[in-house]
């Protein structure tokens, strides 16, 4: 039934994260617009309440768990909120007036004291509770004093019986017709009525009025009712009472305002969602179209049953799975660790439905490539410690709710952790710790074997070079003047090797994609030529690099050929026959070139021609059957969404399905163009992307040099000074070194390397296989509603 639907939805929605409403564009029944408006009004009232509470500095308790959405009956209780708001506004207004009047009275008191000498009568009148009889003369004197001073505003204050309040107010209103403002507050303790002697409650009031005539009328009325007037000394009490009353009201409201806010938000979200449903023919039921992950279909059914049961509806809610041509949204389940990496990939593009998710590998390759560019043991360790601090305190509430920049660091804490860890490792391999090298195993270079003034160690001299340093770069290179010559050669080759392997891995991931979507022809016609192209040219480059490392040594260094020249000559076929890297090189290279040249046309034309052959040669089964089959064909992926068995069986026959085309819409020209563009992009991209990986070398060089400069300019200057001043100088020098290390090397260089590592992933790695054209699965979840005040009351 109609009334039960909000309850059902409330219960459904409590199973957060499982459904998303598909916007049913054609039929939009805005049945619940009124309710949404009501919720918004309530939200406004609550925002005002929170503002007032904050202004009064009352602590606002924020609950840990959010309260459930309220059932329909409780919604009506929300009307009380409106009354509360009205009362609050009035009391606040009165308080403000009281305060203003009090201030004025204080001014006049001062003036009165000054003019006391002019007046014969003693005006000072400090009443206590015992003195009751009205002193008309005094009051007249007060009044006329103020008049003499040119006051236009007059006020009278005093006590009045509780029983006479209403009559008093009515009379005042009738007589003065609104030219007075009356405020009153109840005294805490009941006092003795001077006439009857019994203890009754009193109200303290203040009447403010304009003008002489009104003043007379007010005073006459006041005299009729038995009351006492007090001077401004007692106004303080009145003001305090009003403030206390206000505070009481606010305190009471503060207890429940938090849960009210959450409940109103939930209600509004539910009504918003209900607005998106459509009505069925009988106008009695709501229909909602949702996407649901296949794994949760069972839970969805159970929740519907439970909701129907608990709300006591006569017609139970139920669900049906329907076939559809649309592409479902992409859902990737993450935990708090993998979420950061998934966000990196999603920032480029959310993956298409069911394609390979590069975030899985990004978890390791991204910090690794960052570390190759950042490679310093000391800096990496500091970064690791900072990230560890964030991770260990991740449940601390202040970190959870911090503002923009800190929030960014906090969200990426696991990324920072891994980045720091890998930087420690690459720093170890680069043998770089705050730009200094560590000699752990003893250098492989022996100076004593050679003697000269300025020495270049020659590895061909016996005893000079005794073997490669077992872990990383030899520490003697840090002391050498031609350090960069060696390091540049090493880092460039390393960058190219890492890059080619990364890109090849990307192409292989594409093979997984083709296997999953059951398009085997793609593997043979696209992936294999791509792989051949990449490996025959750049894989051979890796081979040449490694071969030269292994085979050529110091003795043959005179004749060692340059890799770059050899690589270029591979394509140019120069006339002069150089020695080459190894014997038989020309034949090998020719063979590789032939293979490459053959794979290019296959890459260009293979897939379009095959599809053309499929289209013409093999008849499409789908043409003869009805449109239903067509829908089923296109929704191969949604087979998982449909639960029934028979549809599965029917699908097995169309394995190599002509998926992206219906027989009428096969456009050979378009497919050919797409494939040609893709191939050109790939082939040219191979070269440019490989060169792009050289940024791994460039950034690590920049980092090392910056680090070195900082050390030389700062700490070395500090360490060189004589001991007498040195100790004093070293302290600020170290402090400056630490600050500059953090700001320049850690933050600036860290951001730079972070950005470049992202670029390498997004462009060079992902364009080998990733499509990223999907939409994200956003479930209707109460958890996604913000449960903080700061977001609303801004």
């Amino acid at each position: 039934t109609f009334s039960s639907i909000p309850e059902v939805d409330v219960l459904l929605a409590n199973f957060s994260s499982f459904s998303q409403l598909n916007q049913n564009v054609s039929s939009f029944q805005r049945k619940f617009v009124g309710e949404v408006k009501r919720c918004e009004e309530l939200e406004r009232i609550l925002a005002y309440l929170v503002q007032e509470i904050n202004r009064a500095d009352i602590p606002l308790p924020e609950g840990e768990t959010s309260p459930p959405a309220p059932p329909l009956k409780q919604v009506l209780e929300m009307q009380q909120l409106q009354k509360l708001e009205v009362e609050l506004r009035e009391v606040t207004k009165n308080k403000e007036k009281l305060r203003k009047n009090l201030l004025e009275l204080i001014e006049y008191t001062h003036m009165l004291r000054v003019t006391k000498t002019f007046v014969k009568r003693n005006v000072e009148f400090e009443p206590t509770y015992e003195e009751f009889p009205p002193l008309e003369n005094d009051s007249l004197l007060d009044y006329s004093c103020m008049q003499r001073l040119g006051a236009k505003l007059g006020f009278v204050s005093g006590l009045i019986n509780q029983g006479k309040v209403e009559a008093f107010e009515k009379m005042l209103w009738r007589v003065c017709k609104g030219y007075t403002i009356v405020t009153y507050a109840e005294l805490d303790e009941p006092l003795e009525d001077p006439e009857t002697g019994e203890v009754i409650k009193w109200y303290v009031f203040l009447i403010s009025f304009w003008g002489e005539q009104i003043g007379h009328k007010v005073k006459k009325i006041c005299d009729c009712v038995f009351w006492s007037r007090w001077t401004c000394d007692y106004l303080y009490t009145v003001l305090h009472k009003t403030e206390d009353y206000l505070r009481q009201v606010l305190c009471k409201a503060a207890e429940s305002v938090y849960s009210h806010v959450i409940q109103v938000k939930k209600m509004k979200a539910i009504y918003h969602m209900l607005n998106m449903c459509s009505f069925d023919v009988t106008n009695k039921c709501l229909i909602a179209e949702v996407w649901c992950p296949e794994a949760d279909l069972h839970d969805l059914r159970r929740a519907l049953e439970q909701g129907s049961r608990e709300s006591g509806a006569t017609i139970p809610s139920f669900m049906n799975t329907i076939p559809t041509k649309e592409t479902p949204p992409t859902l990737i389940r993450t935990n708090k660790f993998t979420e950061g990496f998934q966000n990196i990939v999603d920032a480029y593009g959310v993956g298409s439905y069911r394609e390979v998710n590069p975030a899985l590998f990004t978890i390791i390759t991204f910090p690794f490539l960052f570390a190759v560019m950042f490679g310093d043991f000391g800096h990496g360790f500091v970064m690791f410690l900072f990230a560890l601090l964030l991770v260990l305190n991740e449940n601390h509430p202040r970190l959870n709710q911090s503002q923009e920049i800190m929030r960014m660091f906090f969200n990426g804490r696991y990324i920072l952790l891994l980045m720091g860890l890998f930087s420690v490792y690459t720093g170890l391999i680069y043998n770089d710790c705050f730009s200094k090298s560590v000699n752990l195993f003893g250098s492989g270079w022996n100076v004593s074997a050679m003697h000269s003034r300025v020495l270049q160690l020659d590895p061909s001299v016996p005893g000079v070079f005794q073997g490669p340093y077992p872990l990383g770069i030899d520490p003697i290179w840090n002391l050498a003047t031609n350090r960069l010559t060696f390091l540049n050669s090493f880092k460039m080759k390393m960058s190219v090797i890492l890059g080619i392997i990364h890109m090849t891995f990307g192409v292989i991931l594409g093979i997984f994609n083709h296997l999953h979507f059951r398009k085997k022809f793609n593997i043979y016609l696209v992936s294999v030529p791509e792989l051949l192209f990449m490996l025959c040219i750049f894989g051979y480059l890796i081979f040449m690099i490694v071969y030269k490392w292994l085979v050529y040594s110091a003795e043959t260094s005179r004749v060692a050929p340059s890799i770059l020249i050899e690589f270029i000559n591979m394509f140019l076929f120069p006339a002069s026959e150089t020695n080459g890297l190894y014997s038989g090189q020309e034949h090998v290279q020719r063979l590789l070139l032939v293979v490459t040249a053959l794979s290019v046309p296959v890459l260009f034309l293979g897939k379009p021609l095959f599809l053309l052959w499929l289209h013409n040669g093999r008849s499409c089964f789908g043409v003869s059957r009805s449109g239903y089959t067509l829908i089923r064909k296109d929704s191969e992926e949604e087979v998982s969404l449909l639960g029934s068995q028979d549809i599965e069986e029917g699908n097995n026959r169309m394995e190599d399905g002509c998926r992206e085309m219906t027989c009428e819409e096969f456009n050979f020209g378009e497919i050919l163009m797409t494939q040609v563009i893709h191939s050109i992009e790939y082939c040219l991209g191979c070269i440019s992307n490989t060169a792009s990986y050289l940024r791994l070398w460039a950034l690590s060089l920049a980092h090392a040099q910056l680090s070195d400069v900082l050390w030389t300019m700062l700490v070395r200057v500090g360490l060189r000074v004589d001991t007498t001043y040195g100790v004093l100088l070293l302290l600020p020098v170290i402090a400056l070194f630490a600050v500059l290390t953090i700001f320049i090397l850690l933050i600036m260089e860290g951001l730079s390397a972070f950005l470049h590592a992202i670029r390498l992933h997004w462009v060079e790695f992902q364009n080998k296989f990733y499509v990223g054209a999907g939409t994200k699965f956003v479930p209707f979840s109460f958890r996604l509603l913000s449960s903080k005040f700061s977001d609303d009351v801004a």
């Binding site: 350090r483 060696f486 292994l550 110091a554 003795e555």
Partner: protein
Amino acid sequence: MLGAHCPVRTRAPEHLQFGPAPQPGHPAPAMTAHSFALPVIIFTTFWGLIGIAGPWFVPKGPNRGVTITMLVATAVCCYLFWLITILAQLNPLFGPQLKNETIWYVRFLWE
């Protein structure tokens, strides 16, 4: 085939003015000869344990796939990085160029 680090002397070294003579009070230059085979075996075993044997010990749970991928990727990346570094230094074509003070420092403190 893997670069011999004790090459056969083919000609008299030109730069050597006098051989390394052990001076009184100083120990003989320490021969910190590094083998190539030993680090290779050690590191291959180490990263092989992590990358190949490690996945078998990952406990069953929702994160099993992710953890296995992480282990294998880490092992591959780190091993490859180390391997490239040591291969690049295996047969150096030229040596470090040192300044005067550095020579004395290295000679008497490292050797």
